[in-house]
Symmetry: C2
Subunit: 239 residues, 2 copies
């Protein structure tokens, strides 16, 4: 039987939750920021609410209720509302901007850098995130994520899971969609990629929302399933 | 006096001629291809004519005489005409495509990889080339060029030296133009970047057109001038 993965030339990765651990990164930075700024709040709730605002904010852009804007701008809209909710006052513009850019400083899951190093021996490895190019570039630089190419929904004027994002990414890589494998922790992302013709790999990240909110996901029959990027490299038989 | 370069956050690089030596790469691959396909032509002339077709082809796109198409497609148009000029017949589509993709396999100048490794210790280093994303990504992967980010005219629907290319690149990096330094062997590229607000560094590559066609260039007063990427790192005081 022919290896169904033999056509793959590139792997494209969802980033928030799949490659980096936004929850613990934001909680850790929040606590530190709180200590230096005398802000005493529950940073786990702050992190969860910030992330919870992300989908609805993109939906507003998708429905045309907000003009196109990148994720830095959407994160800032959500942050400004959260500062009111948590009654955090007195921050300067510089401090708010610093806090907003915590999304540029998210830490990779422990397997991510080493797993990507293995996967990129055979494949082009690229981001395919709703995060903007600057965010993804800064994140890669400061955490050592070894991308061959930074691709983003920002390049298309659409957000995942809109099909334009996946189609444009394949076009920019000079590949047909079935030569690309989408790697994500979120089935919705994979289903949308698959509808455009991508192959798919599910890498569940049960701790994405923190240890008190374990998430389980159900793979589709056609997905590769691997518990981390090293297991994915094993499945693809990369030493 | 304040260091005029202290604001720089990112260096963007012209690629063909500045980072990679298209002339000797194409001549070497051409000779090899000629040997295995019994094609006896002057590959130095073939390389020079292929490159000479590049500006006029982009001009046709710029004037609307050709619909938007990426550099792979423009290189192929020029190649098809050259095959007629040089009376090369009988190549399969696969062979023509392989030959066209020599532009994905161009070799870096000897200082390029090491110089970029030094420069990226402090700055984001990105391509800003008329080459398409797939070409630049493949080239980086197979030659070890350590880009933080692959940016291309392809993302803008314009070709350098149109101002949109430089402005969009700064926007995607989340920077103002004066936080970006364009690095190129070609004064026209630097002047166009400077008109948008970039800082500029000229790295002359006198051998770009081969040892029989030494080119000299005249720097603008405001340019940094360095003979290679290591000298540029020295000027920027990066160890």
């Amino acid at each position: 039987m022919q290896n169904p993965h033999s056509d793959i030339k590139a792997l494209t990765f969802d980033v928030f939750g799949t490659v980096v651990d936004w929850y613990s990164s934001i909680v850790a930075e929040g606590k530190k920021f709180g200590n230096t700024h005398s802000i005493d709040i529950d940073w786990t709730q702050f992190a969860l609410k910030w992330r919870a605002g992300y989908g609805p904010a993109m939906d507003k852009v998708r429905r045309g209720e907000l003009p196109w804007q990148n994720i830095d701008a959407l994160h800032r809209r959500i942050l400004d509302a959260l500062l009111e909710t948590f009654e955090i006052t007195g921050l300067s513009e510089t401090e708010k901007d610093y806090l907003n850019r915590v999304w540029h400083r998210l830490k990779p899951w422990p397997d991510a850098v080493g797993g990507l190093e293995r996967l990129r021996k055979r494949y082009i490895v690229a981001t395919l995130s709703n995060g903007n190019i600057a965010l993804l570039t800064n994140m890669a630089k400061f955490t050592g994520l070894p991308w061959d190419c930074i691709l983003s929904a920002e390049l298309t004027g659409h957000y995942k899971p809109d099909p334009q994002v996946y189609q444009t990414a394949a076009d920019l890589l000079g590949l047909s969609p079935n030569e690309v494998m989408m790697v994500a922790a979120h089935p919705g992302d994979l289903r949308a990629a698959q509808a455009v013709g991508y192959q798919t790999a599910l890498v569940p990240r049960p701790l994405e929302y923190g240890p008190d909110n374990i998430r389980s996901v159900t793979p589709h029959a056609s997905d590769l399933v691997a518990n981390d990027f090293n297991k994915l490299a094993d499945l693809l038989r990369i030493t």
